[in-house]
Symmetry: C2
Subunit: 428 residues, 2 copies
């Protein structure tokens, strides 16, 4: 291997999987406001979370240590697709006629095609290590459910997923993926939980929502001593696990003596944005680097650019802890945009806090602009981005078109759009 | 980077894309019988092929040079997904309780999820370099059509694909992928060609076949001075381009001081099998290595294990050159198995010749066994193999279960099954 050859060819893959996750909490100038108990409104304590999560993840949730070691079995699985490539988008640069150098960090090489397995594998590992035999979760379009299903298959756990009925009925591929991995997938609301039965009684024709599915998955875990619950975004430990993305990107840029002027990442619950950007923010805070981070959210669900920063529930029913975050209100129902992974009323508290501190900027991108950017990217680079990722691509393309100098831009390409081709088809 | 760390984690990625393709013709103990003109039955000459292919590819088709340089722009695109990973299947080994060491060479990391772009990019490049502005091709399930569509988008060509109507109607995702890349996709037979109109007149309700689609794509190219035709398997130059797979696998095994005792690869038209195995055969022939190569074909379309070795046409209509190959007869209609990429009546002449010389063994795998192996692999390794690839997985699993010593097995995992999940669903 020579770095210069790789640079010539446009791809940088230093061949190491990070040994530690990076925790932004260690470097923040002020601490992130704590989650509150939904009953007492007092700060949550670790025992409050014990019915749902293993203690290792709870301690990560509240940790302020900068580096947390990645267990060897997790690294062994990461190595299936990590380090993910950082690719110079030379053909896109030429198509745009920009002087900017554009790189993208591509998470679509994972077996399910997105960044989600980075935390699914870690969560399954810690649960298995504490003797749990089953995980429950909710999923919307299905990327998270498929990722946890894969992780559970690899680590010997069973997995039960409640999928929003609208997606369960209309997008069967992800469900088939979960079942191929040996998981069970129910449409939500279901008649398997009290919460589900109550929702069906209230509206037998409901097509479900992520908030309803969360209630069912939480109830199923809380009432089964062998089961825990697993969440794919928002929480601190999820963002911690995703930090492998940004750490690798930094190392890959260092290897070719590049430094990022600006990083664009799509933002729904915040795990992709946090995973890519927090290691960059850490370097800004510790070493005085000046990388700008831009969160790209959908105009149809603009929590960062239009929401309030206040305590709110993570779910519709109000069963979860209260989180200090940018929120459109727990009852906000986003329109059915194609980027299902970005349809969340709130935002990860750590991301929200960083935005409040002025460490992250945010923009909203409308769906038409996002898909046009996705098609331009696909025809130049060959990879069809996930609808979620097209928001970051759109932000970066607009920035690159306006760039007057040789800036360095990094795009977080959180996944591929192979199972979202009907959305592209509608647009083409 | 340290090789030992990679070996610990189970993945070997020496970071170099090969600089040359490897041509088995240079090392064969006797030459491959030539293709014959369908009219004269005399050996084809390069000018006979000029209406359909650029001269660079025609010269590769008849070349006996051992190494043919890969143009820099092709290597730059290869670098999007190459070198593809060679992964130690530790969890599968444990699940099987085998003493064998199992590795898989994973081509599903390409933007379309299979090995097909390795030749699509090369073919688009040489056509563009000779001033051609459009390529035509046929496709069945759509993997090849999507690969050529991507390659044409990246190299500035337009692409027109005739897709077998049964697949066009029932499997829309690949068509959407072609259209997202900017290609045009017609159901075949169509009313756009004389061949198509004749077929529709003979049977207005026909669901089409690969042989019919070939006739349409060839006619469209032959009647347009700016267009050429492109084929995704069978021909020598296609197998040549795929040799990057086997060359990388050899280098990756060398880097961890392993040598393969046996290589399993699925075989339809022969491009995946040839691409992975020919560099191993070259080392056997030149250096006295003893790697055994096993072609794994579907029991439903068993050209190598049940076919005759004789001259036959590549298409149904008898328009193509005559090729000396293992064939079930050009009129053989394979049953509609899920591994659409293996439903071809013949076999690449170079593969057939190698089988006749005793350099390659062949086995037939039934569909049930193949899918069971695919599911076992997915639940152990996380990657859901393409239905085609499951044939190689099944061959390797049976071999590993019977292994009594520490053998080294390499599986050619030619693609992922993300767009084939309904087939898995039927099986689960």
């Amino acid at each position: 291997m020579t770095t210069s050859l790789l640079d010539t060819l446009g791809v940088t893959v230093p061949s190491t999987v990070p040994t530690h996750w990076y925790n932004l909490a260690a470097d923040l100038p002020s601490p992130c406001p704590p989650a509150l108990h939904p009953g007492t409104r007092e700060p949550l304590t670790p025992p409050d979370l014990a019915p749902l999560f293993p203690m290792a993840l709870i301690m990560q949730e509240v940790s302020t240590e900068r580096w947390i070691e990645i267990p060897e079995p997790v690294r062994e699985i990461y190595a299936l697709w990590r380090p993910s490539p950082l690719i110079r988008a030379r053909r896109l640069e030429r198509a745009l006629g920009t002087r900017a150098r554009i790189y993208y960090k591509y998470e679509g090489v994972s077996p399910v095609g997105s960044h989600k397995p980075n935390t699914a594998v870690a969560q399954a590992y810690y649960n298995a290590a504490e003797g749990i035999t089953k995980l429950t979760t909710e999923t919307g379009a299905g990327q998270w459910g498929a990722s946890l299903a894969m992780a559970c298959a690899l680590l010997g756990l069973t997995c039960e997923v409640w999928q929003v009925r609208a997606s369960y009925d209309s997008k069967p591929y992800r469900r088939m993926q979960m079942e191929t991995y040996g998981s069970i997938c129910h449409p939500s609301p279901s008649d398997l939980t009290n919460a589900g039965r109550a929702m069906l009684e209230a509206d037998p024709e409901t097509t479900g929502s992520l908030g309803m599915a969360i209630s069912e998955a939480v109830e199923a875990a809380a009432t089964d001593p062998d089961a825990h619950y697993s969440l794919g975004s928002v929480l601190n430990h999820v963002l911690l696990h995703q930090s492998v993305i940004g750490q690798e990107a930094l190392a890959q840029l260092d290897a070719i003596e590049e430094s990022a002027d600006v990083v664009f990442a799509c933002a729904g619950g915040g795990s992709n944005l946090g995973g890519l950007s927090f290691p960059f923010l850490g370097r800004n805070l510790r070493d005085g680097a000046t990388t700008r981070v831009v969160a790209c959210e959908p105009a149809a669900c603009p929590s960062l650019t239009q929401g309030e920063y206040r305590y709110d529930f993570g779910d519709v029913a109000g069963l979860t802890p209260l989180l200090k975050m940018h929120t459109l209100g727990k009852d906000f129902v986003p329109p059915p945009i194609h980027a299902g992974g970005l349809r969340y009323h709130g935002m990860a508290p750590m991301v929200s806090h960083a935005v409040e501190l002025g460490l992250i900027d945010a923009i909203a991108v409308d769906q038409e602009t996002a898909f046009a950017a996705g098609i331009e990217f696909a025809r130049a680079e060959g990879i069809i981005p996930a609808p979620e990722s097209t928001h970051a691509v759109a932000g970066a393309i607009a920035h690159a078109r306006a760039a007057t100098g040789p800036e360095t831009i990094v795009i977080g390409l959180s996944g591929n759009g192979v199972l979202d081709l009907p959305a592209y088809h509608d647009f083409v």
